[in-house]
Each structure stands twice: as structure tokens, then as C-alpha cells.
């Protein structure tokens, strides 16, 4: 027998080890979003595949534009030297390097419809070349746009007209995307060396970059006050994930401490307390290991299970302890056998309810449901087998009747009539409140992030002082190859044009001119060869027209790029680093599928429903994904509604079946359901009065409250059976344990109310309120309801009870 135990322990240890070896925690905010939504798919594709998502944006501000420029250059060089970054872009990547700009221009021409490139080549022929350059000169002489004059003064063939006409470039013509108008505020884009995106990588990297900045700052040759801020996707992911982790760990530790603290206050026994804490930690450890084995990577939000599980697992220990105290003459085994049915049925029912949450669309909530479900079963088993035998000799008999203060005795002896008066009064008040005002449903996504975000503040400063970098509406078009994407992009563009005409969109930008067109490139290859042959004549004609030789560098590099392109087989993409940086902003590759990113601007008069409808049409006709945080909110409303049907209905059915199996009595099943409903009614009223709203995160409170409500109602009703309807005795034993559990769990969740993550804070508040309400209803009202029910049904259960 002993050998068998050793083997079981050995296998369990190996299992635990395997589970922990597999343990990975996912803290990315994007993975908190529900699956199966086009909006979310779009956001995730965007997050994974476009260069800007891998970049930190560092902003610098001083009072002096020169100092800001000097500091920006110095920091860029320092970061490059540090080896922390693969690339730092702090001014236009084409600045001071005509070769890079020329390649992009040459590429744009090479990508044009063949007849357009052919027309350009014809303008370079002997009879027309002087006229072509003369026209540029005349434009320079008469243009009213200094920028156009400056551009043409280095471009005798006006090749750059193509770039100037591109919508994506023209929209911000003349503005510096790296500096504010007065130059006192500048930004730089810093790319990670490690391209694997993720919370842990980003957190380490952002911390190292911050350290480097802190070390570099004193080395500046001036001491002007300077503000440096960090934002960009890695900063957001790092900040959100860190606050989430901290909040969840604090909640778990807080709940454990509260359980221990309250146990000490009530029972003042060290050994049982130590055993309780040790077994709770063991339950958590086993559950995390099993969860890791079952689910693989665990979502950070699902780790919120720890606080929930500890609250529920402590119930079993406290009920056992209280029962043992109440019957000091009984052996631990006898007490356990007496309480076991109520604990096992409660565990089974509550776990069943939590397993049903696995049907939710929210990945964090799904995992949380499974983890709590598994954990409850583990907890029931461990507490029943290991708790009482270990502490039996240390339990102080319950002689509390004399020691209890009068008011506690009074409360515990609350009569049936008083309980019914309270029930009716509470129901009337709650209904009155809810008729006047229901709690709002906030389906926005701001609850996913911290309440106060330094990364968001930095981004808002950039948007205010430089512009751009917003996240209004995006479009991703994907395809098997460049040609497929180009074809779909054209179809999508036609739909977007119609939407602009219909005033649904104010405008849009798609990199149509920059995206490679394989068919056009193939046909332009010969035109490029013809153009390259004309370079000496072009140079001679330009000099004759008045251009300095050194002002022809751009033209020469463009011709060199055409030469290279015409010798390249297959599809041509620009190869210079500057061009690559630009292309990463709108071109991506997701597991072999090519992606292109566009930006949409909703018309001021448009409504979310219209935009959703447009997104649906684009998806149906071209497979394009329209997404954005604003539309996500709208989409989440549908998901929340769908989840309520998909999770709560099956959960209700399973609960009914399990409660039926546990009680084998319709009246008691009904009382459990009534306890849940009444708790929810009271919670909704408190939320309405306090101005709280339901949101994406605090909907998790519902399953918890269902679980706890069912749990408490089973314990109380089984106790009512055991004590043949003696309400005061039930309250002093099981009721006391439930109040203790409820108080400790609520206090743990209450500590989440101070969390920096807005969603978790609201979850903490709602859970704390809900747990307190549920435990109070279960302990003080449910026994009276039960008694009345049994009287109406001729005391059958009381008579049948052992």
C-alpha cells in the first residue's frame, strides 16, 4: 500500500513537473480579444505583420529646436551603438541620400502601366528631349509652389511628379513626419533586433531601451530641460501586460492573505491556518500544472482564476473545519463523510458551471472557466482527504454560543418572518431601481488597457504636435502573390470610391502606386532598357538647359535603378533600407500570404452600422478586412450578445441537471436558481446606483457569481437537511464558514478595484459586491425560503433527512 502511494506521488510529481515545464503565460492584449471576429482578425494580422508594430516611437522635447535636433541625433546614434536596435529612423530615410529616393522613384515608374512608362521613354528621344527639359524649366519659372520648384530643380525630367501625385505622399505634402512645426518636438522610430513579437520580449527590450536613455541623458552637452517619452506598439504591449500581471498576482496574493487573516481572526489556530494556506497553494500549483498540460499557453487574464479558486477552495476547508468544531465528539472521517455529499455536489455543480464558460469567445475567459473548473475538483478532493486528518488534534471545540456577542447571536438567529420581510423589501427596492435605470453596457476596448497609460499619453502628444499615427480605420487586403493582391486592391478601391461618393468615407489611402504590379513590370522591362540608353543625352540636354552637373544625381541614380530592374528576373521590390522601412508600413507577409495595408477615414456623418456594413461588403467581395478600435467596440457588442446565448443557456441547462442530481428535489433546485437570480437582481441594482457598467472584462464576474451562488446554495440546503431546518445552527456552522469565505474572497477581489488596469478594476468591484450579496442571501435569506418551502411541502425533506 505504501509503495503504491509512493508511486502515485512520484507520478504526480512528474506530471506537475511536466506541466510547469510547458507553462507559458500570454499577456498580449490582442490575445485577450475574442476569436472569430473579422475586426479582431484584422487587428491581429496588423499586429503581426506590419513593421510599425515592431517599433518603439521615442519622442523628445526641449524649448529649443536646435537642441531637440541635436539630442535626437545623439540618442539615435547611442541606440545604434547599444546594439539594442536593428534600425533607428529619426528623419526621412531618404534624407541626404539621392540614391535611395531615386530607386523609389524609378521603382514607381517601373510599376506604372506600360503605356505611361512608354510615354516617358518617348519624351527622352532626340527630337523631344530638349522640349521635355524646357517644360520643366518653364514650370519652375511659373509655379507658385516653392516645394514644386525645389523638387524640379533637381529633377529635369520631372520624374518626381509621379511621387507628388501619389495620394499617400501628397496627403502630408510639406509636413515633416518626424518633427513638430516649430521643431522643438521630434520623434524617432526604433526597431527591435529580435523580430519575435510578444509581451516578454517587448518588456525586456523596452526596459533596456529606457535604461540606455537614462544613461545617455547626462552625456548631453547642454542641460536644457528635456522630456523623453516612449510609445508605439511594444510600449503598449509591455505596459498593458505588466499592469495586468501585477494586478492579477496582487489579487491572488491578496485573496490568500485575506483568507488566512480572516481565518486567524475567527479561529485563532496556527496549525489549521498553516494547513489551510499550504493546501490552497497545493491546489493552485496542481491546477496551474494541469492547466498548462491541457491548454498550453495560459492567458494572463485566466490567471485571475487563482483568486476565484482560492475563494471557492477555502469554502470546502472552512466548512469541514466548522462542522468538525460543531461536533467535537466525531472523528475526522465521520465529519468528512457527513459533509462530503454537500462538498462533492457543490464542487461538481460549480465546476460544471465554470466548464461551460469554455464556450465563451473570449480566450481569457474560456481558459479561466476551464482552470477554475479543474481547480474546484482538485480542491474538493484535496480538502476532503487531507485537511481534517492533519488538523484534527488542533481544532478548538465550538463553544461559541456563550462567547458570541449578543448582536451576532441575534443576527445568526434571524427568524423566518424577518428574512421574508427583508426579501420582499429588497426585491421591491431593487426592482424600483432597475425600472428607473439599468446598468449600462460599455462594450468599448479601453477597459483592456491601463486606466492611466504613459504610452497613450505619449502617443496623444505626437498626434497633437505632429499628426498622423492614429488608429482610426484600417484595411488589409491579402492575396496569394503580388498580382493577386494588386487585383483585389483595385476591386477594393472601386468599392471605397463608391463609399466616398456615398459620404460614408471622407477619404482613404491605399498604396496602389507602390504595390508591385508583376504584369506591368514585365512589360516595362524593355522600356527601361531603352530609357537607360538615353542617359548620356539626358545629362547633356539638362546641362545645356541650365542645370548644374551636380544637380543631376537623382536622375542618374534613377536610370541606374532602371538598369538594375531590367536585369532582374521576377517581381521587383525596392531594395534600399529607406524604401524597405517605408514598405514595411503597408506591405506584410503572413505565412506566405501577401498583405497590403490601407487607411480609411470615416466621414463625420457616418455611423458604425454603416461602416460595419461596408466592412462586410468588402470582406464578401474581395476578402479585405476593414478594422479599427472604434469598429471593434461595435463588433464586441454582437460577440457579447452571442456569448450570453452560447454560454449562459448551456450553463443554465447543466446547472439544472447537476442541481437536480444533487437535490433530487425540484423545490431545492428552484431555490438554488432563485438564490442566483436574486443575487443578480441585487447586484444589478447596486451597479445601477453606483453608476457601474458591464464591460468586456467584468462580464467574467457573472460565471463567478453563478459558481459561488450555486456553491453556497448547495452547502446551505444540505446543511438545512442535516440540521432538520434549524436555521440558527446552519448559520453558526456552514453559514459562518460561507460568510468567512465570502468576506475573504470579496476582500481579495476588492483589492482588484484599485488595479491599474481599468477592466480588472471594474471586475474586482463587481465581483466583490456580487460575492458579498450572494453569501448574505445564501446565509440569511435562503434558510428561511427553504423552511417555508418545506412547510408547504409537508416537511418531507426534513423528515427524510438522516
Amino acid at each position: 500500500m505504501k509503495r503504491t502511494h509512493i508511486w502515485i506521488a512520484f507520478v504526480a510529481l512528474i506530471g506537475l513537473g511536466l506541466g510547469f515545464a510547458r507553462l507559458q503565460i500570454d499577456v498580449d492584449v490582442f490575445n485577450l480579444l475574442p476569436a472569430g471576429s473579422r475586426m479582431v482578425d484584422g487587428l491581429k494580422l496588423f499586429q503581426r505583420n506590419f513593421g510599425s508594430t515592431q517599433e518603439l516611437i521615442i519622442s523628445l522635447r526641449t524649448a529649443d529646436p536646435e537642441k531637440t535636433a541635436q539630442a535626437t541625433r545623439s540618442l539615435a546614434e547611442e541606440l545604434k551603438r547599444s546594439g539594442l536596435t536593428s534600425r533607428v529612423i529619426w528623419r526621412s530615410p531618404f534624407h541626404g541620400d539621392p540614391a535611395q529616393l531615386a530607386e523609389l522613384l524609378a521603382y514607381s515608374w517601373y510599376n506604372q502601366p506600360p503605356e505611361k512608362f512608354e510615354a516617358l521613354v518617348r519624351k527622352l528621344q532626340a527630337g523631344r528631349l530638349a522640349g521635355t527639359i524646357g517644360e520643366t524649366i518653364e514650370r519652375m519659372a511659373t509655379s507658385l509652389q516653392p516645394q514644386e520648384v525645389a523638387r524640379l530643380s533637381y529633377d529635369p525630367l520631372a520624374l518626381s511628379d509621379l511621387a507628388a501625385s501619389m495620394s499617400t505622399l501628397a496627403a502630408g505634402a510639406g509636413s515633416d513626419p518626424f518633427a513638430s512645426g516649430d521643431g522643438t518636438f521630434r520623434i524617432m522610430f526604433v526597431s527591435a533586433v529580435d523580430e519575435t513579437a510578444g509581451f516578454w520580449t517587448y518588456r525586456r527590450w523596452v526596459a533596456k531601451v529606457s535604461e540606455t536613455i537614462a544613461t545617455w541623458k547626462p552625456s548631453l552637452p547642454f542641460d536644457n530641460p528635456m522630456t523623453i517619452r516612449i510609445t508605439g506598439n511594444p510600449a503598449f504591449v509591455s505596459e498593458t501586460g505588466s499592469s495586468l500581471m501585477k494586478d492579477i498576482l496582487l489579487a491572488a496574493v491578496g485573496t490568500l492573505l485575506m483568507v488566512a487573516g480572516l481565518f486567524w481572526v475567527v479561529h485563532r489556530r496556527w496549525i489549521p491556518l498553516a494547513w489551510l494556506v499550504a493546501l490552497l497553494v497545493l491546489v493552485l500549483t496542481i491546477t496551474v500544472s494541469l492547466g498548462s498540460l491541457i491548454l498550453g499557453t495560459l492567458n494572463a487574464v485566466s490567471l485571475g482564476f487563482a483568486a476565484i479558486l482560492m475563494g471557492l477552495a477555502a469554502d470546502y476547508a472552512l466548512i469541514l473545519y466548522q462542522e468538525f468544531r460543531a461536533a467535537p465528539g466525531d472523528s475526522p472521517i465521520r465529519t468528512r463523510n457527513t459533509v462530503a455529499p454537500s462538498i462533492l455536489w457543490a464542487a461538481l455543480t460549480t465546476a460544471g458551471a465554470f466548464f461551460m464558460i469554455g464556450l465563451s469567445s473570449l480566450p481569457g475567459l474560456t481558459q479561466l472557466g476551464i482552470l477554475v473548473g479543474v481547480g474546484i475538483l482538485v480542491a474538493a478532493g484535496i480538502m476532503l482527504t487531507a485537511f481534517l486528518p492533519a488538523i484534527a488534534g488542533r481544532v478548538r471545540p465550538d463553544t461559541a454560543n456563550g462567547a458570541e456577542t449578543r448582536w451576532i447571536t441575534g443576527v445568526m438567529s434571524l427568524g423566518s418572518r424577518t428574512a421574508w420581510v427583508i426579501t420582499i423589501l429588497a426585491a421591491v427596492v431593487c426592482l424600483a431601481v432597475l425600472v428607473g435605470r439599468l446598468p449600462a453596457v460599455d462594450y468599448g476596448t479601453r477597459n483592456l488597457g491601463p486606466k492611466e497609460s504613459s504610452a497613450m499619453a505619449a502617443l496623444q502628444e505626437i498626434q497633437r504636435d505632429i499628426g498622423g499615427h492614429d488608429d482610426d480605420l484600417w484595411l488589409i487586403v491579402e492575396g496569394a502573390d503580388e498580382g493577386d493582391v494588386a487585383h483585389r486592391m483595385i476591386s477594393t478601391g472601386r468599392m471605397l470610391d463608391r463609399s466616398v461618393d456615398e459620404k460614408l468615407l471622407a477619404g482613404y489611402s491605399m498604396p496602389e502606386a507602390l504595390w508591385p504590379r508583376p504584369d506591368a513590370q514585365q512589360m516595362n522591362r524593355n522600356h527601361a532598357r531603352l530609357a537607360v540608353a538615353r542617359l548620356p543625352a539626358v545629362t547633356e540636354a539638362a546641362v545645356r538647359a541650365g542645370y548644374m552637373t551636380e544637380s543631376l544625381v537623382l536622375t542618374e541614380h534613377a536610370f541606374a535603378a532602371w538598369k538594375r530592374f531590367s536585369e532582374t528576373d521576377g517581381v521587383v521590390w525596392p531594395s534600399h533600407p529607406g524604401s524597405k522601412w517605408v514598405f514595411e508600413k503597408f506591405a506584410g507577409n503572413d505565412s506566405g500570404r501577401l498583405l497590403v495595408l490601407g487607411r480609411l477615414e470615416a466621414a463625420p456623418t457616418s455611423n458604425p452600422a454603416g461602416l460595419q456594413e461596408l466592412a462586410g461588403r468588402i470582406y464578401t467581395e474581395t476578402g479585405g478586412l476593414v478594422f479599427g478600435w472604434s469598429l471593434l467596440s461595435e463588433s464586441l457588442l454582437e460577440i457579447m450578445a452571442r456569448d450570453i446565448r452560447r454560454v449562459l443557456i448551456p450553463m443554465g441547462v447543466v446547472l439544472l441537471l447537476l442541481l437536480g442530481a444533487a437535490f433530487r428535489n425540484a423545490g431545492e433546485v428552484t431555490l438554488s436558481i432563485v438564490t442566483l437570480g436574486f443575487s443578480l437582481l441585487c447586484l444589478m441594482s447596486i451597479m445601477a446606483l453606483a453608476g457601474w457598467s458591464w464591460n468586456l472584462m467584468n462580464v467574467m464576474a457573472l460565471p463567478l457569481l453563478f459558481g459561488a451562488g450555486v456553491d453556497y446554495s448547495i452547502h446551505i440546503q444540505f446543511a438545512m437537511r442535516r440540521y432538520r431546518g434549524d436555521m440558527a445552527r446552519v448559520r453558526r456552522t456552514v453559514g459562518r464558514a460561507i460568510l468567512l469565505c465570502g468576506a475573504s474572497t470579496a476582500a481579495g477581489f476588492g483589492s482588484l478595484g484599485l488595479a491599474s488596469n481599468a477592466g480588472l478594476a471594474s471586475l474586482g468591484r463587481v465581483c466583490a459586491a456580487g460575492i458579498i450579496i450572494t453569501s448574505l442571501i445564501a446565509v440569511f435569506l435562503l434558510p428561511a425560503w427553504w423552511q417555508t418551502l418545506q412547510r408547504k411541502t409537508h416537511n418531507q425533506i426534513i423528515l427524510e433527512a438522516p
Partner: protein, 240 residues
């Protein structure tokens, strides 16, 4: 040329001496104080004169000196102005570029390409647009206070036929687009003779005005433009 800065209004006297010592200690150029006040007075006179203009027309020769070109570029045209801020510039013969400030917008018309660019007057945040407006409006300030808020007088010199003012945009943001503005104003009548804009890259655009007519009859249609049906109208400040 008689540089005003050679004259000084400082006489002997203990009070003035102490001011002089103070100025020396603080590094202030004593001589320029009086000179600048004369120039500033002249500039004020011109601004006052401009505010009295109801309409004004002139021929213009636009000369552009660009670093990348071996010789300057020259274009001829005509300018119409009406108080407070309506104007029409026609450059080239036949016209290549026409700029008309209507009530609601600035139209830049390229007749040869049958293309019209529309810039809403309300939106002056775009730097390129600011540059275009500065180029067209700098010589026609209708509000002296607004002009002083935008430009700082660096120096003013006078010869036998004209005042020459060197000004600098006050806002740092504007300085990044326009380094300096030079104005040439006739001595007696304070009539604008030329404007010169110096850009940060060193290129210069000079508008030399001639055949001025002060307050002539100008048809109201001058400051409008009937866009032909075959013209393509674009709004460069809007995304697609």
C-alpha cells in the same frame, strides 16, 4: 547708399552716458537703436499706406535664383489686389499659372494642363499651403498688427530711391519654410516696388513690380475664376 545705421541720436550727458555703458555691458548695439527706429517708422508708414489701398494692379517680373541652376529663371505676369485680401496673380505669357483668392478658397489654375487646385482658406495648417500663401500675400498686408505679429524687422536701409526692409518670420515653424522676406518700398509714396523671399535652401524668389496703378477700377470677376468643364479639379490637402 546711405545706411541709416551710421547715424546716432545719442548726445552727451551723464544719463545718456550711463545708458551707453549699460548698453555696452549688455552688448546692445547703440547705433542700431536709432537706425532701427527710423526703419521701423518707415515700415509703419508703408503698412499704413497699404491699409489704405482699396485696389492695386501692377506688372510683375518674377526672378528665381536656384542653387541647382546655372542661371536665374524669369517669368512675367500681372497682379491684381483688392482690400483686404483678394488677389489674382497671372504668370507667363500665355498664362501658365494663375492664382486667385476667391471668397472661400485659393484657386491655383494651370491652363495648359487644364488643372485647378483648390485650397480652402480656412485650413492653413499645412506647411506647403502656408508657403504658397506667404509667397502671394507678403506684399499686401491689410492689417499692420497682424503683419508685425508674423514678421520681425531685422534691418532697414534707404538709398535715394527706396527703402529696403529685411524681415524674418517670428514663428520658428515659419522660419523653417521661409528664412527671410525682403521688401522694397518707394521713398515718397511708400509703393511696393519688389518683394524677395529667401528660402532655407538658399534659393531666392524676387517679384519686381512695375506700372503700378493705385485704386483703379477692378472688375469683381477678376477675383473669381470660371472653371471650364474640361478642367480637372483637385484638392491637394485632402486624402483620396
Amino acid at each position: 547708399m546711405n545706411r541709416l545705421t551710421t547715424r546716432t541720436g545719442v548726445s552727451s550727458g551723464r544719463g545718456l552716458l550711463s545708458i551707453g555703458i549699460l548698453c555696452l555691458l549688455l552688448g546692445l548695439p547703440l547705433r542700431s537703436i536709432a537706425a532701427d527706429s527710423r526703419a521701423a517708422g518707415a515700415l509703419d508708414n508703408w503698412l499704413e499706406q497699404q491699409s489704405r489701398i482699396k485696389t492695386w494692379t501692377a506688372d510683375v517680373v518674377q526672378v528665381r535664383k536656384l542653387k541647382s541652376l546655372a542661371r536665374p529663371l524669369e517669368a512675367r505676369g500681372k497682379v491684381w489686389f483688392a482690400h483686404p485680401n483678394r488677389f489674382r496673380w497671372v504668370m507667363g505669357d500665355p498664362p501658365r499659372t494663375i492664382a486667385v483668392r476667391t471668397r472661400e478658397q485659393l484657386l491655383v489654375i494651370y491652363p495648359r494642363f487644364k488643372r485647378v487646385e483648390q485650397y480652402p482658406i480656412g485650413d492653413v495648417s499645412n506647411p506647403a499651403w502656408k508657403q504658397v500663401l506667404a509667397l502671394l500675400e507678403v506684399g499686401f498686408p491689410s492689417d499692420a498688427d497682424a503683419f508685425r505679429e508674423r514678421y520681425e524687422l531685422l534691418s532697414g536701409t534707404k538709398d535715394h530711391e527706396a527703402w529696403r526692409f529685411e524681415l524674418q518670420p517670428i514663428e520658428k515653424e515659419a522660419q523653417r519654410l521661409l528664412k527671410q522676406v525682403r521688401l522694397e518700398v518707394s521713398l515718397e509714396a511708400y509703393v511696393l516696388r519688389a518683394t524677395e523671399l529667401v528660402f532655407p535652401d538658399g534659393s531666392i524668389m524676387r517679384n519686381q513690380f512695375s506700372r503700378h496703378r493705385l485704386n483703379p477700377e477692378v472688375s469683381p470677376g477678376t477675383f473669381d475664376y470660371d472653371i471650364g468643364e474640361d478642367y480637372k479639379v483637385v484638392q491637394p490637402l485632402r486624402s483620396k
